[in-house]
Amino acid sequence: MKLLKLSFLNLFRYHKRTLITASALAYGILMFVFIDSFMSGANEESFRNYRIHDTGDGQILAAGWWENKDEVSLDYLIEDRTSLEAKLTGLQAYTPHLDFPADFLFYKADGFVEDGDLPVVVRAIDPATAPLVFDQYKHIEDGTMVRDNQYGILLGSWFAGKLGASVGAPVLLQVKTRYGSTDVIELEVTGIIHTGDSSLNRKAVYIPLTIADEYLETDGAVTGYTLLGSDKDLAALKDSLEQGLRYLSFFDLTYDFQSMAAMSDSFIIIIIFLIFVIASVGVSNTMMMGIYERRYEVGMMRSLGMTNREIMNSFILEAMGIGLIGIGIGFALAIPLNVFLVNHGIDYGFMLKDFDVGYRTTGVLHGKWKAGSFLYSAVTGLVVSGIMAVIPARRILTRPIADNLRMK
């Protein structure tokens, strides 16, 4: 009791120093909570965007396509769609797609920013079933959905914006057919899609499957199907697939993103670790000064018969007091910040427009409440602070009492 009181009083003896050090710690905690909230929000939203815009709950792809997905090749196609679709009827929803590379040609005379061509990956979609599986077709901000057999094209908003494309503008897609000859599809922009998915806004180019089929000479073959359904149904489906087909779960399809997210997580852990190291150096320094200034006083307390253990404990308590103040300030700042992050979010879409950071998030990113990050930073802050008192205190307490007393 007497120790606790003494530690508490000593804490305010150097109130300026205490406050500065506690602020450093508070900053560490604030950063931790902020980054953790932000990253969890980004992760969760990215996964959500993958699911609703790209992967569904799983996909069936032509064998070989996934392994060579960077080629976007027409060499791996599902030919027999009828027998496969017969197996899919039990699912909640499914839609076919055909992915292929093309040159996107555009002209200044048509309202584009310049004459030019751009390599793109086009996804041919089934206008009837695609909206049942994917969410982006609800977000055609300008124009309308493409129809079967229509020479129409849908573009992502940032893609369109960069080129100056607007609804009604004519576009040429130069493609290679399945057999290697070149052809050009003349299309008209029917709609522009704007979603909360940076990757989609930047890259999406959709045309009707019927048109693609005709020009690429694919004879009804497709790259794959995107599926929505229960885990049980999907598992059963996976087991019933024939040779030449491959089922990929949501987990398989987002594997690259997961490893990227894990990598940036560990990077962030390093940053947070560094912040805490800096904060604890601050605590250590403050305690060092405070304890050295008091060595004569320590000598007196030891003379009176206070044990080294008692004195050590009182210093540890004092340092933990600094930690506690830091945690208090940190939380006082972090809680309102996180309320803002969660409810309002930060609009950083402008940053993602021109370069790909790997996260599929909206312009407005929302944080998440994570009790763990509060708890973890508080415990770490408290423990680290306490430990920081041990070294300087021990240095004084291992000296003979006479030495403590000798100089003032």
Partner: protein, 227 residues
């Protein structure tokens, strides 16, 4: 009775050896009011520290009452100081964040949890040393003489066998120093507590019942035989 037998203490720093105490032997009666004088570096502080169980002699024996303190280990000496000794320091050495009352009570709290008893003893000693009305002041708002009074009270309050005071008046003007010494003397008379104090001050030496002069770690003179 305090017995000091053939006590030596040498400080070494590198190749240099300082013989701070050289084979000191001395017997101090209970209730003594003993001054240790001598030039700077003569070993006064070292002697007081060895008797006060703050420092350990290299050789020789020290006993206080029945206790052979020179044979105790660190923990034993800490316990012994807590129960049996009081200290007064040259620069008062109060805890600045505690009030007069709390500084004095702290010495008792080390040995007891009985708040009533602690309060009673603290108030009693406050009255005895004439600090009524200053209970709630912090040291920074007390004069040097008042602070040293608090220090005397802190040393006395646990009713120790022996109080050691290393140059208790050195930071005080002569008038205040005299008052502190009178207070110590009075407590010595009234409670029979043994006092050993070091000093450079003639006035202080004259008030001692017994005066030992040290020189280069040896006893040069001792008025103890004459009384």
């Amino acid at each position: 009775m305090i017995r000091i037998q053939n006590v030596s203490k040498t400080y070494r720093s590198g190749d240099l050896a300082v013989h701070a105490l050289k084979d000191i032997s001395l017997t101090i009666e209970s209730g003594a009011f003993l001054a240790v004088a001598g030039p700077s570096g003569s070993g006064k502080t070292t002697l007081l520290n060895c008797v006060g169980c703050i420092d350990q002699a290299d050789s020789g024996l020290i006993s206080i009452g029945e206790d052979m303190v020179s044979e105790m280990d660190n923990t034993g000496r800490t316990q012994f100081r807590r129960r049996n000794l009081g200290f007064i320091f040259q620069s008062y050495n109060l805890i600045p964040v505690l009030t007069t009352y709390e500084n004095i009570a702290l010495a008792l709290q080390l040995n007891s949890n009985n708040t009533k008893e602690i309060d009673r003893k603290t108030r009693e000693i406050l009255r005895e040393v004439g600090l009524q009305g200053l209970e709630d002041r912090r040291p920074s708002r007390l004069s040097g003489g008042q602070q040293q009074r608090v220090a005397v009270a802190r040393a006395l309050v646990g009713n120790p066998k022996l109080i050691l005071a290393d140059e208790p008046t050195a930071n005080l003007d002569s008038h205040t120093g005299e008052a502190i010494l009178d207070l110590m003397k009075e407590m010595n008379r009234r409670h029979g507590i043994t006092f050993i104090f070091s000093t450079h001050d003639k006035m202080v030496m004259e008030r001692a019942d017994r005066l030992i002069r040290l020189h280069d770690g040896e006893i040069q003179s001792d008025t103890g035989g004459k009384q």
